[in-house]
């Protein structure tokens, strides 16, 4: 069954980039522009994995992470952020992975694959 990945990021270009790359990797994708929307998608679309940005207007990624886990603590969450400082924040330890944003989206894609036990596809 094709795995569904939810991307939550306030930057539209990055949403497009991640969806493009993840689709190329064989995943189904959906994207939310903020945390509230993201939570709605979690409830209604039941994604298999969430890629979550931290710095967003309104509710931030850390709070969103908690709320997601409250709803379903089995769902893998990848924190994908430009800010490396949050690694020290233990609130983020509940996430399954922490990826620092870079122009090489391959690292994110690889992480998603591993978490969803998909076969690593050579680039």
């Amino acid at each position: 069954m094709v795995k569904k990945v939810l991307i939550v990021d306030d930057e539209p270009h990055l949403r497009l980039l991640y969806e493009t790359e993840l689709r190329r990797a064989g995943f189904e994708t959906m994207a939310a522009a903020n945390a509230e929307q993201g939570l709605e998608y979690v409830d209604s679309m039941r994604p298999d994995l969430v890629v979550l940005d931290i710095r967003m207007p309104g509710m931030d990624g850390v709070e969103c992470l908690q709320r997601i886990l409250d709803r379903d603590n089995t769902i893998p969450v990848v924190l994908n952020t430009a800010y490396s400082s949050y690694r020290d924040n233990f609130m983020t330890w509940a996430a399954d992975a922490y990826v620092t944003k870079s122009s090489d989206v391959g690292e994110l894609v690889q992480t998603v694959r591993e978490l969803l036990h998909a076969e690593p596809v050579s680039q």
């Binding site: 430009a82 800010y83 400082s85 330890w93 944003k101 870079s102």
Partner: protein
């Protein structure tokens, strides 16, 4: 009897009475020559009547005796008898009052009747009185000086001792001042004034009386550095010391009873007297306590070691008075000093605080700058991700040979370069140090667990240490791994409130060292298992719920994983594995970094 006969009889009586009487009476003729003298007068003047006859009275009274034109003593001056000094034939000087009267003899010539009254006794009292008044007035002046001038404590102490020893003061030869040292609770000699021998004494007193008659000037401007004196007495005073606790010591008693004491040369057998005699090198001395409202400050010890003069009642009395006056001045000065000290401390503290604040502001500014730089760096990342990300996508979708492919490659490269710069910049702002080193796992585990052995004994928990990875080293942050082991051990102990067996084991396996902590508690319920390592999950009323979450994170950071299972026979087993360092291609083990 005939009136003439009565007159003659009475005249003879008068003559006999006077002649034999003890009242010193004289009858003088011209030029004050003594014609008749009573027995008392003879005794006073020191010559028998035969020899006195014809002597001029001025021989004995000097030329201070005012005379009339015809050479007889004036009757009186200002209605009072003459006060003169009589010098008897046998030597010495006696203060006397001389009453003169004139009469006419049978021949009509003027004669003088003199009555001389020895006023030594009265003089003494008078002198006493004068001296007392003088000293009281002096004390008043001293008081004003002590409180008026802005003197340091040392100057006050010196001034006080000057009063005790100066000629214009209490006239003791030497004075020693001892003060209580609060910290050591001892009475300690502070300062002393006085010559070490009579030659020195003579020299000093001569010098001093030449220079200044004004005691106040002496007190306030005396510059000891100019004099070579007082050295010996100050050496003596530095050796003088008595613990305040020895309550029967004369110096301590003086303070406790607020009483001045005088020790005479013959007195013995009073505690402390022998010590003081030894210090002073003299047997007689006086002690007066320095008392303030708050209690005793110390004592003044004074003696007349040079002149040997006896210490009189008045001397003692004035010493006490002076001590009383001085005590308050000394106390004030001390308090003032203390105050100055505290003020200085406060000023320093305020200064330091100001500096700390400046420092803090500086650091905050730096921190803000750092933060700003960090925020900017992070904000730059997002756009770079979009630029570089899509450049890669483009690159992938373009065919080899298409020049646009190369353009896309260039964009990708440049973005990667920018990302490296940002990464380095952030690293520079907040460098991360990973303190990992090669550590023997078994040793670390054993050390950590042993700390709890005592407590385990109390809780009736038996410990089994089954470490089977001897000498095996892993690259770890020892503090962090210790924290993990502690966490697991404490949890195990808490799970076995009624005692049981706690097992800690290590096993070598391929690529890593496995560490297990097992307890014989109730185990972990299935429902709890998924949440076990999440933050804030706890079953304990006082638990923070962070212990396992942190431990899990630490182990993850070391490349392992913390897991939990229930043992077959009951109880929980917590396991984690630490990867072993990879052998280098040349077969040698990785060396310790740094």
């Amino acid at each position: 009897m005939e009136p003439d006969e009565v007159q003659l009889e009475e005249a003879l009586w008068l003559r006999d009475a006077v002649a034999a009487g003890s009242v010193p009476l004289l009858v003088l003729e011209e030029e004050c020559r003594i014609r008749l003298a009573s027995a008392g007068a003879c005794r006073m003047l020191g010559l028998p009547p035969g020899e006195l006859r014809g002597q001029p009275l001025t021989r004995f009274l000097g030329h201070d005796l005012p005379l009339t034109a015809d050479g007889l003593p004036e009757r009186c001056v200002n209605g009072r008898p003459h006060e003169l000094t009589l010098r008897p034939a046998h030597g010495g000087a006696v203060p006397v009052e001389v009453v003169c009267d004139h009469f006419l003899d049978a021949g009509g010539r003027r004669r003088s009747l003199i009555a001389i009254h020895d006023i030594t006794h009265i003089k003494m009292i008078d002198e006493d009185r004068v001296w007392r008044l003088g000293r009281l007035s002096l004390l008043n002046q001293i008081n004003e000086a002590l409180y008026g001038e802005r003197m340091t404590l040392e100057q006050i102490l010196e001034a006080v001792l000057h009063c005790v020893t100066a000629d214009q003061g209490l006239r003791f030869n030497r004075a020693f001042l001892l003060l209580i040292d609060e910290k050591s609770q001892r009475l300690r000699g502070e300062i002393a004034i006085g010559p070490s021998n009579s030659d020195e004494a003579a020299r000093i007193w001569h010098d001093l009386s030449d220079q200044q008659n004004d005691l106040i000037a002496l007190m306030t401007r005396y510059d000891r550095s100019l004099k070579q004196t007082d050295v010996a007495v100050n050496e003596i005073v530095k050796t003088m010391e008595v613990p305040v606790a020895t309550a029967d010591h004369i110096l301590i008693r003086s303070m406790n009873e607020r009483q001045a004491f005088r020790v005479v040369a013959t007195e013995v057998d009073f505690p402390g007297v022998e010590d003081i005699r030894r210090w002073l090198g003299h047997t007689a001395f006086a002690v007066a306590p320095l008392m303030t409202r708050r209690g005793p400050l110390g004592v003044i010890v004074a003696d007349n070691a040079i002149s040997g003069r006896e210490i009189g009642d008045l001397d003692l009395e004035f010493l006490q008075l002076l001590a009383n006056e001085s005590a308050n001045a000394i106390e004030n000065s001390r308090l003032y000093q203390e105050l100055q000290q505290r003020l200085a401390d406060l000023r320093r503290a305020a200064q330091r605080q100001k500096e700390d604040q400046k420092q803090l502001l500086r650091m905050e500014r730096l921190s803000i700058m750092g933060e700003t730089a960090a925020v900017v760096a992070h904000e730059l990342r997002n756009p770079l991700v979009a630029i570089g990300g899509f450049a890669r996508t483009l690159h992938r979708s373009l065919a080899e040979g298409d020049p646009h492919k190369q353009y896309a490659a260039i964009i990708t490269e440049e973005v990667a370069r920018l990302e490296r710069i940002i990464h380095d910049l952030l690293d520079f702002i907040r460098p991360k140090k990973i303190l990992r080193k090669l550590v023997v796992v078994d040793e670390l585990v054993a050390e950590t667990v042993r700390v709890y052995e005592g407590k385990m004994g109390e809780q009736k928990i038996s410990l089994v240490l089954d470490l089977q990875a001897p000498g095996v080293r892993a690259r770890i942050n020892p503090g962090e791994i210790q924290q993990v082991v502690q966490n697991l051990v404490v949890n195990a102990m808490q799970a076995m409130a009624d005692g049981g067996r706690l097992t800690v084991l290590t096993r070598l396996q391929t690529g890593g060292v496995r560490v297990e902590v097992c307890d014989e508690g109730p185990g972990v319920p299935e429902a709890a298992k998924p949440k076990l390592f999440t933050p804030f999950y706890t079953t304990k009323p006082t638990g923070s719920g962070l212990g396992l979450a942190i431990s899990s994170q630490i182990v993850k950071g070391h490349g392992g994983a913390l897991a939990c299972r229930n043992a077959a026979g009951g109880g929980a087993v917590f396991t984690f594995t630490l990867p072993l360092p990879k052998p280098r291609p040349d077969g040698a083990e990785e060396a310790d970094s740094r």
